[in-house]
């Protein structure tokens, strides 16, 4: 069975985002970009399925600027993905359009399982996996903390409010990863060197005949309201007084 893993190049999670002074967005010039952390978990899971013999091939796909090839597709291949697909565009593509493009890729590649991150840490949408499942008419196992393949199905343990929930899905299926699914491996230098010889197919958005016109218009982006500076107290007694003042302690 082939596993398809869509990944996204985003502002590195350690970098504090700065809102542009003109309110048009977040400043991404000259800042470190990396693979979305949830997508690393998705690659790791796919590679583990391959190592267990449950998957035959891991294909990684990304939609974005040319630099995504070196920033994320290389990392993914160094982690163990067999080949990459870069759908190049300089425009920002919304989750609905991403899902439509991925649905076309899925038709071509015929994977048995598609593993995505549960959300990208830039737009925080948490939509693409579910949308892709809807477009393909496949079942979805979102926020997965455990994935087990067996027979004609996949069993997914999901992190839900209040605890965990387990669902059985028919294959082909969509899984989106939560943080506790696994600990992604590091791409070692020898593997990065080897990854360079693994193929990457270069496509453009136009190749897929999908309308990617944005449906949402960003009118402005602002910084959240700043909290006013607080005080430090010197002792537990003072803290107790403050808590009484707030009405939470008697």
């Amino acid at each position: 069975m082939k596993v398809l893993v869509p990944v996204k190049r985003v502002l590195d999670y350690n970098v504090k985002p700065r809102v542009k002074a003109d309110g048009t967005g977040v400043d991404l010039a000259n800042v470190k970009m990396s693979m979305n952390p949830f997508d690393e978990i998705a690659i790791e899971e796919a590679v583990r399925l391959k190592e267990k013999g449950a998957a035959t091939e891991v294909v990684v796909v990304t939609i974005g600027v040319a630099k995504a090839e070196t920033d994320v597709l290389l990392t993914a291949r160094a982690m163990g993905a067999d080949r990459g697909i870069l759908i190049q565009t300089d425009d920002e593509i919304e989750p609905l359009a991403v899902a439509k493009l991925l649905a076309k890729v899925a038709e071509e590649e015929q994977p048995g399982l598609i593993i995505l991150g549960k959300q990208a840490i830039d737009d925080d949408s948490n939509q693409t996996g579910q949308m892709l499942a809807a477009l393909l008419g496949w079942p979805q196992g979102t926020f997965a903390s455990k994935v087990e393949l067996g027979g004609q199905g996949v069993q997914v343990t999901r992190e839900v409010d209040g605890g965990l929930e387990t669902v059985d899905l028919k294959l082909p299926a969509i899984v989106t990863t939560d943080l506790r699914l696994n600990e992604p491996r590091y791409a070692t230098l020898p593997n990065i060197m080897k990854a360079k010889s693994k193929p990457v197919a270069k496509k453009t958005v136009a190749d897929y005949g999908v309308d990617v016109t944005p449906r949402l218009k960003t009118l402005k982006v602002v910084e959240p309201a700043k909290r006013s500076a607080g005080i430090k107290v010197g002792s537990v007694d003072e803290l107790v007084e403050k808590l009484k003042g707030l009405g939470v302690a008697k």
């Binding site: 925080d124 892709l132 965990l164 943080l179 982006v221 430090k232």
Partner: protein
């Protein structure tokens, strides 16, 4: 404009998360509710009693008992013929179903809204809450998830909605519910608690987490939360996690104990009314957002604080 609100419940009782969504929906238009589940008569009557509610659509079918997105989404899509917008709480249930509905309707979902600026304009957080975007949609139908802590709760009583049975396509046969493991807690629910006591990696172990955090929370009648580091280290279960990837909370008082204040954690709690931080590192980023800070050893401070309350 007619809106449909997904009612969050456990087949027995309506969850508080619904009430904030009703407030948001009322800013968009006329409020109708959808109660989908199994044996939900009780939930339907609770839903009809919410102030300002019009029609309550009730879909009672075993296929909807566990809110599987594959079964529920087509039901909602069929109701969208007579509604202009559908709103969900940004809970794991809402986040699971809403995008499936949006894609089926060929519209872009607007996730986790903080405010309604107009019939087609909303604000929402991006980059872990480090920026707030104002977005305007050009879609004909709206699919929205609502951040519960950003809207006041509608009154749970005083309404006189009319209950109407609806039916969908039932079980699509794509997925089955296999079981659940729900953490039991006597304490208030994290997302609706007025006071939260939250522990981080500095607690050192699961035993110390419970020995220090639990008694303080009990004294304050608080819910217990945790940072990702504490959850990953196994000190607390994952549904305690507050942050970008866990729960978003905004209580009256948030007490952060042994939490450094990474941006991913702040994204989940920085709208709390008063933030209190106890940490031995006076340069910890948590002190930049804390209203009241106490620098010192939590293993001394927390027992003393619990004692003196």
């Amino acid at each position: 404009m007619k809106t449909l609100v997904w009612v969050e419940h456990d087949n027995q009782s309506l969850k508080d998360a619904t009430l904030a969504v009703v407030t948001a929906a009322a800013k968009v238009g006329e409020v109708h509710l959808l109660v989908a589940g199994k044996g939900v008569d009780g939930v339907a009557s609770q839903a009809a009693a919410i102030e300002g509610v019009g029609k309550v659509h009730v879909a009672d079918d075993a296929a909807y008992e566990h809110f599987l997105a594959e079964n529920v989404a087509p039901l909602i899509v069929s109701l969208m013929g007579s509604h202009d917008a559908v709103l969900f709480p940004a809970t794991t249930t809402g986040k699971n179903i809403a995008p499936r509905v949006a894609a089926a309707l060929d519209v872009m979902q607007i996730s986790d809204i903080l405010s309604v600026e107009g019939a087609d304009t909303f604000t929402r957080p991006i980059y872990a809450g480090n920026a707030i975007a104002t977005v305007q949609t050009s879609d004909k139908k709206l699919v929205i998830t609502v951040r519960g802590t950003a809207f006041a709760k509608a009154a749970a009583t005083g309404g006189s909605g009319t209950v109407e049975a609806v039916s969908g396509e039932g079980d699509k046969g794509l997925s089955t519910f296999a079981g659940a493991e729900i953490a039991k807690s006597e304490r208030p629910e994290l997302t609706s608690a007025k006071v939260i006591v939250s522990g981080g990696r500095a607690l050192g172990s699961q035993e110390q987490f419970h020995a220090l955090i639990d008694p303080l929370a009990d004294k304050l009648g608080a819910a217990v939360g945790a940072s990702r580091a504490a959850v990953d280290a196994g000190y607390a279960p994952n549904d305690y996690q507050v942050g970008q990837t866990g729960k978003i909370v905004a209580p009256e008082v948030y007490v952060a104990i042994g939490i450094s204040g990474a941006i991913q954690h702040l994204a989940g709690m920085k709208d709390s009314k008063t933030i209190i931080a106890i940490n031995k590192d006076e340069d910890a980023p948590i002190f930049q957002v804390a209203d009241i800070g106490l620098v010192g050893d939590l293993f001394k401070i927390v027992p003393e604080l619990t004692e003196k309350l």
